[in-house]
Amino acid sequence: MKEIIITVLSITGISTVLAVLIIIAEKFLNNYGECEIDINDGDKNLRVEGGSSLLSSLAANKIFIPSACGGKATCGLCKVRVLEGAGPLLPTEEPYLSKDERNDGVRLSCQVKVKGNLRVYIPEELFNIREYVATVTNIKDMTHDIKEFRFEFKAGEDIKFKAGQYMQIETKPYDKVKEKAIRAYSISSAPSDNKAVELIIRRVPGGLCTTYMHDHIKVGDEVRMTGPYGDFYMRDDSDDYVFMAGGSGMAPIKSLVMDIMERNLDKKMIFIFGAVSKKDLYHTEFFREIERQNSNFRYVPALSRPEPDDNWNGETGLVTEVLKRYVDSGKGKHAYLCGSPGMINACVNVLVGSEFDEAKIYYDKFS
């Protein structure tokens, strides 16, 4: 008995001493004092406690850099140009940075530790990014695996975004999932509807966030989100647009089409939506209604494998084949694609083959 007590006490004692040593070491070694972060040549000056990552230091000051992995250097989204004070490039950053980016001083902000004064450049639109606690006010089943959620912000709060951009949702721990997860979803509502956002989320079997959204979120729940993010938004300098989407990739396209309609822009548009069978189609009536009201808009749902009892008499085949049938030449046209990486790569090939300018093909890969 005595032996057990001595053992437990001494192990506890030694561990405590070591833990205290680590805390003391951290206090002295990880103490970089107050550091200054200069943003965009004096536009903003932040004074932060050194020792944490640039990403979290900026977030603490309400400047949100897009990040889908939560600072683990696996998504490569949190790129920021650091002009001074970042130290050498880390091996963890190398895979995400092109040669040009390296020369420009682009770094992953989650890997850069604030150890002294920094000079950074952050694109203006990132200042629009804010943190919201939104309430779920509506959940609609779109198909067997896709739901559309409406999140309303607190009174007095609004959002300024460009059609096509996305939000990042933070899930709370649930069931056996002990950690928070952060995932990105495109906004499907129009920018004019600025007191709320709607997101279309497809269930990914075993997915951390999609399972949470599909099975655990109820109307009235609060969800923490940040945004808007992304450079997939409409450029106005064309009169002819080709939109293509598959699955939940409809979200940003819906927002783009609604935005064009609301602003009464005189644009010619075709929207090709790819699905497997009739049960994967949704918002069909919504787009048909726009088609009826506006002769410039054309909606083409295409099924790759319609079921016998679908009685489908619309387009069949892969979206790439349908694309060839509807779009003959891409001269002067812009294309916006959203869906799985496989679909996008195939479509980009077809578009480039039909004389689309590669720089005018915009896409958002959902993976």
Binding site: I14, P88, L90
Partner: protein, 197 residues
């Protein structure tokens, strides 16, 4: 019970004839898994050497002045492991502050070293063989350098065999084990000069 062995004999023997990995088969996991490329292998070797020296010294002090007086010899495994884990943490913090270049180069290897059994092995041998402070220090340093030499050599050979045509059945672990065996024989060849244990 050999406190009178010259520390320098221990130093050289632990590099070559009593090499941690080639004669004691300790630290095999990272020895095999991180020896594909010379550059990374050598980086890991450096980190292991550094941590070995530090933890041997710290464990010597803890063992002589805490574990022995309290009569806790039976707890030495646990104590050594906690000390190793804690000292790796502190070394990491210190390196990040004072040697950022080296810290960045070693990257993920530094925390991974905590679970390298060669490091625990050194501390245990030091106790079993009753080494004094200088003997322990040079034993730690020598073993580290020996591990570094072994993994760099293996990595260099593997880089070469990676580019050669070898029979299908030997590709990967098969050939690696044969190379390690031959390397061990070569290192043993020096046992006429000095040997400990």
């Amino acid at each position: 019970m050999t406190p009178q062995i010259n520390p320098f004999i221990i130093f050289f023997a632990s590099i070559i004839t009593s090499n941690m990995v080639l004669s004691n088969f300790l630290g095999m996991c990272s020895f095999i898994s991180v020896s594909n490329e010379f550059k990374t292998a050598s980086g890991l070797g450096k980190a292991v050497t550094l941590v070995m020296v530090f933890t041997t010294v710290i464990n010597y002090v803890v063992y002589q002045y805490v574990v022995l007086p309290l009569g806790l010899e039976y707890l030495r495994y646990v104590v050594f492991i906690i000390v190793i884990a804690a000292s790796v943490q502190i070394i990491e913090l210190a390196m990040d502050r004072f040697l950022p270049e080296l810290y960045i180069k070693l990257g993920i290897f530094l925390p991974l070293i905590t679970v390298n059994c060669a490091i625990l092995g050194i501390s245990l041998f030091m106790v079993i063989r009753n080494y004094n402070f200088w003997q322990s220090l040079l034993f730690g340093l020598g073993s580290g350098l020996g591990w570094w030499l072994a993994i760099s050599t293996l990595a260099a050979i593997r880089e070469k065999t990676g580019k050669s045509k070898i029979p299908q059945g030997l590709v990967g672990p098969g050939l690696t084990f044969i190379i390690i065996g031959l390397m061990a024989l070569a290192f043993m060849g020096f046992s006429g000069i000095f040997v400990i244990q």
